[in-house]
Amino acid sequence: MTGTWIAVLATAAGCYALKLAGLTVPQRLLGHPVTRRFAELVPVALLAALAVAETFADGHALRADPARLAGMGAAVAALLARAPFLVVIVAAAGTAAALRALGVS
């Protein structure tokens, strides 16, 4: 249990330090066009990667969960229809939950 506490606190400290470091780096490092563009594009790359990873990855395996895919499909449809954010989320979760309730796994 002590070891687990150490791991919990070390993870918390490390994660916080990394957050603080990003806010503390001198802004002049962002003056270079390539650096600035990189910082602008990073969230796009990471969030796109997270979206597909959380849709398809199951540990080391890639898996197409039909209900989850349908939920993401509903999200895309809502986005194409310019639905507000909350509608997109509810459409995605509701579609997946409804299909699972119907026995789609």
Partner: protein
Amino acid sequence: MADRADGQAGPGSAQAGQASRKRSSPTRDGLVLGLAVGTSGLAFGAAAVSSGLSVPQACALSLLAYTGASQFALIGAVAAGGGLLAGCASAILLGSRNTLYGLRLAGLLQVRGPARLLTALGVTDESTALALAQPGAAQARMGFRATFGSLYITWNLATAAGAIGAGRLGSPQSLGLDVVAPAAFLALIWPRLRSGAAERGVGLLGAAMALAATPFCPPGVPVILAASAALAGALAAPKGGSP
């Protein structure tokens, strides 16, 4: 926690679009986003306890680390029967994403002194995405604060509820909660994907890299590798794109 190593959601996952919602207020969007994503703390709390963490340990992670992917990475290592050092390392590696977000947010939020210490805690996928989706710095600050406050409170209450009630709740999957985070991520970058070819290219490349690396890397690492897609995009068109 938007980043979940294993496909759960958490702090760190979304943004709203300026193009698609002209009448939206950043504060309202941030509150909604925090509430919606924060409920996935139920899944984290329940998973943490079933992995072998105590309720206080699960709550400490959400209060202090406050970044979903890293938290899921650590409990994954605990559940796998130890490997605490590797678990810590992968959790912290996942957290490096937030450093990159901070680089981008620093100029926008303009925080100095002690306020920076609190602001740093609030840097997650979700607060970053919502702040960057705003048309100006003032709206970005409002959106960041609203998302941070709403998500922090919801995520921590949900973590505690999930940890205490582990086993008594319905499965998060039966409620479709596993789709909340990826759908939120997609919604948050949607306006940027619409805004430029470079953004679309970087998004597609990042997504493809994450998928390709998944079978060969520990959970969470493929997403970090995807940051190199942003580097490729920056080198290809350093002047292009949106502000």
